[in-house]
């Protein structure tokens, strides 16, 4: 089955092409094409994963270009990590597509939407399967294009347009780093293949300095895609896209690409202590930073977006503290429960047509299915015991503790608390209390939307059990199999109180949120006063956008202004002098030009005739 794995990304591509060609005629039926092809892709991924359990890494490449001594190849590789990723991506994509059947009902460009989804899925799957950096970069950019199209799907909305542009440009900034990193890496190792690169790294061919530089540059790419501080601002804005898109891109796939990149290049990072540190600190900071913003946001999707940023920071933190397994594990569980949360949020939005949580409330009774599912997701993300988030988060905390970086550990604990708090704030604001809106017409979403949520809900509950301290660390063992030396232990052993701490912190967060927003025992603005400076800072996301505006944008404007004056007066003057003189000479010359081809021909022929006559007379060929 693994040798046929190349078909996995091909299916969505075919769906995309078919929809592109005949989508206009198919209209709503186009969705089924997308779903069927994605289903095929998912089934194949599942089979591949099954086979991968027992078989070794499979790699197949074709050479397509030879440059000097270097051969560029294209192909695919199935190792543990990407086999897992394939399943996650195709599953989430499939569920999102099914969900969209209900969510996007009545949308005019139905087939276009599915075409874009297919395209994005293709790009993401291709990215995951890439066996070398060139191919990875290629799909990396395609993912960017796909997300651009999807975020800007409502292109007639000014905000959506801006958000799409922003997402594209911000991630591009990261991509430039990645590209430079790849080029440097090629410069140093002479190869784009992962295997060869890792070998070169381990054999110590590359100096420490450049290794760190390369690793950090590559990490910059990951920062861009995964929305880590300071390139995170595009992610909340990207919520302008349709909610299923948010679930797909901003929960499970695209943003995870950054984490995936770091995970894939893990041996490289391991080789550089400084890079690891940078990853860990960036992740940790982002986690708490985003969590604090999320605590005050009022837009349900934005809360989730900041939550995503925060969770991604968590993963980065895990990776940076050598918790390879922990990071990947959390990536997986997060994909499920965050997708669930987004879909549930979408379902809520679908039901009451607003995204403002202040205007929601009391929906528990009305949304009989969405409510519990949302609760499951919330519990999972908060690290409530025995749910998937509990295990993966626990793993991260363990990793941080084991690594010995206590500062980061504390950051992570605080973030855990905040996570539980803001998530339950969200939950209670939406579902508890009184209806703050005439909720008469509130209707539960159709079954077609509930079904994917249900699947995700089940997964959010059970997916944690493949890596638990009690039932065995199946995932970790499998992931590091054959690479134990590089990727580290399958499971970080830590003191038991870590787990207890995590649970109690989460429970504390839940309790606080309950008091504030469900019972309203405590004043709502208890923690942070609504008009306090901190609140405003948080509400405005630490003024990041404004900072960017005043620093980078203004600086560039200043430089541009300066350059434009330079251009206009100094260079322009120079050029106009030159052109002026040439023009003057040309004007004199153009007097000779009548513009009449015949005259030119005549003159040319006259010349030829004269030459020929001279030649003949002087005895050229006559002899």
């Amino acid at each position: 089955m693994m040798e046929n794995a190349w078909l996995i990304p091909i299916f969505p591509l075919v769906a995309f092409l078919v929809l592109l060609l005949v989508g206009g005629r198919l209209r709503e039926r186009g969705a089924y094409i997308g779903i069927i092809f994605t289903l095929a892709s998912f089934m194949l991924s599942l089979l591949t994963l099954m086979e991968r359990f027992s078989a070794p890494t499979y790699k197949k490449t074709l050479e397509w270009l030879t440059l000097g001594g270097t051969q560029l190849t294209a192909g695919f590789e199935i190792n543990q990590l990407n086999a897992l990723m394939l399943v996650i991506v195709s599953l989430v994509s499939l569920l999102v597509q099914i969900y969209s059947l209900g969510y996007m009902k009545g949308e005019g460009r139905f087939s276009t939407f599915y075409a874009y989804l297919g395209f994005f899925t293709f790009a993401m799957l291709g990215l995951v399967m890439a066996p070398n950096l060139v191919q990875l970069y290629f799909f990396w950019e395609l993912v960017g294009v796909g997300s651009f199209l999807l975020i800007g799907f409502y292109f007639y909305k000014q905000e959506a347009k801006a958000a799409a542009k922003k997402a594209f440009i911000m991630t591009r900034i990261g991509d430039v780093g990645l590209l430079i990193g790849i080029i440097l890496l090629f410069w140093e190792t002479g190869s784009f293949e992962y295997g060869e690169i890792f070998q070169a790294v381990q054999s110590g061919v590359i100096s420490d300095g450049s290794l760190t530089l390369i690793a950090i540059l590559i990490f910059v790419g990951a920062v861009g895609k995964s929305g880590q501080f300071p390139l995170h601002t595009w992610l909340p804005d990207a919520m302008e896209g349709p909610t299923p898109v948010s679930a797909l891109i901003h929960a499970a796939t695209m943003v995870a690409a950054g984490v995936y990149l770091v995970a894939t290049m893990f041996p490289l990072f391991l080789a550089s202590e400084a890079a690891m540190q940078a990853v860990a600190i960036t992740g940790g900071f982002t986690a708490i930073f985003a969590a604090s913003i999320a605590s005050v946001q009022k837009d349900v999707k934005r809360v989730l977006a900041y939550s995503t940023i925060s969770q991604l920071g968590f993963m980065m933190l895990a990776l940076g503290t050598a918790g390879y397994v922990a990071g990947v594990f959390h990536l997986m569980t997060h994909a499920f429960f965050k997708a669930l949360l987004f879909l549930a949020a979408g379902s809520v939005i679908h039901a009451i047509h607003t995204q403002d949580i202040e205007r929601m409330g009391g929906l528990w009774a009305r949304l009989k299915w969405t409510g519990p599912l949302f609760l499951v997701g919330t519990l999972a993300i908060s690290g409530f015991p025995l749910l998937s988030g509990f295990f993966s988060k626990d793993e991260i905390l363990m990793a941080a503790w084991t690594n010995g970086n206590y500062f980061l550990f504390i950051l992570a604990v605080i973030t855990s608390f905040l996570t539980a708090f803001y998530m339950f704030r969200l939950f209670f604001m939406i579902f508890a209390g009184e209806s703050r809106r005439q909720a008469k017409q509130v209707k539960e979403s159709p079954a077609i939307m509930l079904l994917p949520m249900l699947v995700l809900g089940v997964l959010a509950v059970i997916s944690g059990y493949i890596q638990t301290p009690w039932f065995g660390t199946f995932l970790g063992e499998w992931l590091v199999e054959g690479n134990e030396t590089v990727l580290g232990a399958a499971h970080s052993e830590g003191p038991a109180w870590v787990m207890i701490l995590a649970v109690s912190v989460a429970l504390a967060g839940i309790l606080l949120a309950y008091m504030k927003y469900a019972r309203t025992k405590l004043p709502r603005e208890g923690l942070v006063k609504e008009n306090s400076t901190l609140y405003r800072v948080l509400e405005n996301k630490y003024y990041m956008d404004e900072i960017y505006y005043f620093t980078i944008v203004q600086m560039i404007k200043g430089i541009s202004l300066f350059l434009s004056y330079m251009e206009r007066f100094i260079i322009g003057g120079l050029i106009s002098t030159v052109t002026g003189s040439i023009e003057g000479m040309g004007k004199i010359g153009s007097k000779l030009q009548s513009g009449q081809v015949q005259q030119y021909g005549m003159i040319a022929f006259l010349g030829l005739a004269v030459l020929l006559v001279i030649f003949a007379l002087t005895g050229g060929y006559l002899r």
Partner: protein, 172 residues
């Protein structure tokens, strides 16, 4: 050189060809000029026949008289203009040109004058078409294909050129 049928035919055809050419220059009406040139083209086809190139001769008639002339006539009829075509250039310009052409002709003629290549027996007239076909599809197959591409490009180009203005006209 004895007088043979071939010679008579050659002179007859050459006369018609040159006459057609001269008429092209001396006539005043554009359509007349084109019709005059038809005769030149036809007699050139005859010349080809004398040179045992019957396929080329037929193609000459097919393309020149059958297609190009008609296309030219179309061009004339579709573009309304003065029927007469008086020479554009001033007298002295034409004088210089004539002089140059005369010089050119003399120079080339001097080259041709003593050209003496021994006549060799050829088998060109036997299955002429087949020979051309074999040559065309073996040795010159790439030029042949290139030629087909060229024709296609010319076709597309001509259509685009002739059509483009319609849309512009609609816009304005």
């Amino acid at each position: 050189m004895s007088v043979s049928g071939e010679l008579i035919a050659f002179f007859g055809l050459a006369l018609v060809a040159i006459l057609g050419g001269v008429l092209l220059i001396t006539l005043t009406k554009v359509v007349h000029m084109v019709i005059a040139l038809v005769f030149t083209f036809l007699s050139i086809a005859g010349i080809y026949l004398l040179l045992s190139a019957e396929f080329v001769a037929i193609v000459q008639i097919l393309i020149y008289s059958g297609a190009i002339t008609i296309v030219m006539l179309f061009g004339i009829m579709l573009t309304k203009h003065r029927e007469n075509d008086e020479p554009a250039k001033g007298g002295w310009q034409r004088f210089f040109l004539l002089l140059a052409i005369a010089g050119f002709a003399v120079a080339v003629y001097l080259g041709i004058y003593n050209l003496d290549i021994p006549v060799q027996p050829t088998a060109l007239h036997e299955e002429n078409t087949k020979q051309i076909g074999i040559e065309l599809f073996s040795k010159y197959v790439i030029p042949f294909e290139v030629m087909s591409v060229l024709l296609l490009v010319a076709l597309v180009g001509a259509i685009v050129l002739a059509k483009k203005d319609d849309e512009e006209g609609d816009r304005s």
